[in-house]
């Protein structure tokens, strides 16, 4: 099991509708367990499409997306939705949090939707205690936990997003430009915190900022992966 790659893409082709132009063609891509991948993605490179494919939001027109050796791209929508929350933690560029939930509730969201994440998080203690531990590990003090998320700074919000992505130990973390709203200092400490707490999870970190590449095991540009000629 450990030898099986976390992500496998085979001969992927994607277009929005049958007559739309081809957006993405990836003959082959593979990501090993525990790998930290830096995915360089300038805007317009098909970055969002690739993330949506990996997260099982959309299916490729041709080819196969396998996650954790499961044929994700062959499943129906609801099964892909369940798989997503069970095995993937997602971090967005910004606005990760639901404004009407507290910091704690935002962190617990994946546990509400996934029994697997809930069970994993509740291994040693209650899920609330687990969320609590994660948040304080990420440097968020106790008094912030029950505050409205709007009271938090952008940096704090992104750390809550990390806690949410990590709770219940999903195998794959996909972070889409999570540092673009942060300044240089907080950006570096953010990435350090992410690595530290992600432990053996596989990470795909998408960014347009080449300067971050040296922090990762491997660095790939989407323009190299995607063989569609964009003229």
């Amino acid at each position: 099991m450990n030898k099986v790659p976390v992500v496998q893409l085979h001969d992927i082709e994607f277009r929005w509708t049958r007559r739309a132009p081809l957006l993405l063609r990836i003959p082959r891509f593979q990501l090993e367990r525990g790998e930290h991948l830096f995915l360089l993605g300038p805007s317009g490179s098909g970055k969002s499409t690739l993330i949506n494919l990996l997260a099982g939001i959309v299916r490729p027109n041709c080819g196969e997306v396998r996650l954790l050796d499961q044929p994700l791209s062959q499943w129906r929508g609801a099964r892909r939705d369940r798989f997503r929350v069970d095995h993937i933690g997602l971090i967005f560029q910004q606005f990760n949090l639901l404004p009407y939930l507290s910091v704690l509730e935002n962190t617990l969201l994946p546990c509400w939707f996934s029994a697997r994440r809930r069970d994993h998080a509740a291994r040693q203690c209650s899920i609330e205690q687990q969320a609590h531990a994660l948040l304080s590990g990420l440097g968020l003090s106790d008094e912030l936990l029950h505050q409205p998320v709007t009271a938090l700074s952008v940096g704090q919000q992104q750390r809550v997003a990390v806690a949410r992505a990590l709770i219940g130990k999903p195998e794959l973390i996909i972070a889409d430009e999570p540092t673009s709203a942060l300044d240089a200092d907080t950006r570096d400490s953010f990435i350090k915190l992410l690595f530290e707490h992600a432990e053996d999870s596989t990470i795909i970190f998408v960014s347009h900022d080449r300067a971050l590449a040296p922090l990762f095991h491997r660095s790939v540009s989407i323009t190299e992966l995607n063989t569609v000629d964009r003229g």
């Binding site: 997260a55 939705d81 997503r84 509400w112 939707f113």
Partner: protein
């Protein structure tokens, strides 16, 4: 599902202002509609309660509804009187068990004065064949005695022995008073919830007495006859306005009705209270229907407001949807989020509306009672009202399908992409 409900509830609470407004719009419309239903049921109840045990109502020839309204409900005026001879002639028929003569046309501070005889207190029935009862005092014996209804006593703070002056005409303000012949309150009736409560009762002779020195509806100039002198005159009644009639045998009622309607000496009209009430419903049905249609449109307006609120938030909630998608919410769940929200809004509005309706009833009760004599019943919701509340909630939830479907499509298409 449990968490989806929680999320929907919290999300909904977060947008208090816009959600509050659409709740208010639906609440007002539901109060209006249930209120209309309530008033309609109460009004019918009131009309049915007021007359009981009377077989025929007889008056001068006019419309049945008109006769019913002025003779029983003290609404409107008689077009003509009937002669005492005709009345006696019919009343003496062996088939007739009892009659109650009614003479209307005067008032006391806005309350109608009714001239009648002691048979009124003996034979008049209301509600479920209940007789009138005195709360205090006695029925009238002297010429200038008056028996007042409960509402008259309450509103004007009258006690036994109070002197009152009758006014000519039925208006609230009258310029022609029968000030020279004051009356004394000798009895106060128990409350009935019918127009009896708002009536001042005197004898037929008293009505004659106060008009003894009048000619053609005006005090005759230079012919004043004072109260004591009037006692010496011939006060036997010559005209009455209408009378109520009870038969020994109900079977003979139709025959008697025909006899009266074909009465040779005078054009008379006899009506069956039930039939006249049915005709009254028909007249009222037009008004009721108009009110209901208006109330229905107000409900629709409230619903449209709800739809506008839900649709207008769709765009600003796309980020929220993307976050929910990222933690495993499917398009179906996003869809339900909107349907739930419409449901919450309608449910909140309906429960608020029930509360407001009862609050309004409680507030309006004293005023309605003094104005009409109707004691509004604070009773549980009628099946029709429950049905309406249910319909509002179901309709709102159905309307929630519209933004639900749009959000479903957004969720499929946007995926994890933030379109801010």
């Amino acid at each position: 599902m449990k968490y989806l409900l929680l999320i929907s509830l919290k999300s909904f609470r977060n947008r208090k202002a816009s959600v509050g407004l659409s709740i208010a719009a639906i609440l007002v419309s539901v109060v209006l509609f249930t209120g209309v239903l309530y008033v309609r049921a109460e009004a019918k109840q009131w009309f049915v309660q007021t007359i009981s045990g009377t077989d025929l109502i007889v008056g001068a020839r006019s419309g049945p509804v008109n006769l019913l309204l002025y003779a029983v409900f003290r609404i409107g005026d008689a077009t003509n009187n009937i002669s005492w001879q005709s009345y006696r002639d019919i009343a003496d028929d062996p088939e007739v068990a009892w009659t109650i003569p009614l003479s209307l046309g005067d008032s006391h501070r806005g309350y109608r004065v009714l001239g009648t005889n002691l048979d009124y207190f003996k034979y008049l029935r209301y509600g479920n064949k209940q007789p009138l009862e005195l709360a205090q005092g006695l029925v009238f014996h002297d010429l200038y005695d008056a028996v007042i209804g409960a509402e008259v006593a309450d509103a004007l703070h009258y006690k036994l022995g109070q002197e009152i002056v009758l006014a000519h005409g039925a208006g609230k303000i009258s310029f022609v008073q029968h000030a020279d012949k004051p009356f004394r309150v000798v009895g106060i009736l128990k409350r009935t919830g019918t127009p009896v409560d708002r009536t001042v009762h005197v004898s037929l002779e008293a009505i004659e007495a106060i008009h003894v020195d009048w000619q053609s509806g005006m005090p005759a100039p230079g012919q004043h006859i004072d109260a004591e002198a009037a006692r010496q005159r011939d006060l036997s009644p010559k005209l009455i306005t209408a009378f109520l009639l009870g038969m020994h045998s109900k079977i003979a009622t139709f025959q008697m009705q025909r006899t009266i309607n074909e009465y040779p000496d005078e054009p008379l009209l006899a009506i069956l209270p039930g039939v006249a009430l049915a005709q009254l419903w028909q007249v009222m049905a037009v008004m009721e229907n108009i009110l209901q249609v208006i109330a229905g449109f107000v409900v629709l307006t409230g619903m449209t407001g709800l739809l506008i609120t839900l649709l207008s938030t769709l765009n600003e909630r796309r980020r929220e949807m993307a976050v929910l998608r990222s933690v495993g919410a499917g398009p179906k769940q996003i869809f339900f989020l909107f349907v739930f929200e419409a449901f919450w809004i309608a449910a909140a509005a309906c429960s608020g509306a029930v509360f407001v309706l009862y609050a309004l009833l409680a507030l309006a009760r004293p005023a309605v009672q003094s104005a009409t004599g109707v004691a509004l019943l604070i009773q549980p919701l009628a099946p029709l009202q429950w049905l309406l509340l249910g319909a509002v909630i179901v309709l709102a939830s159905l309307l929630g399908l519209v933004p639900g479907v749009i959000a479903y499509r957004h969720a499929l298409h946007d995926g994890l992409t933030m379109r801010v």
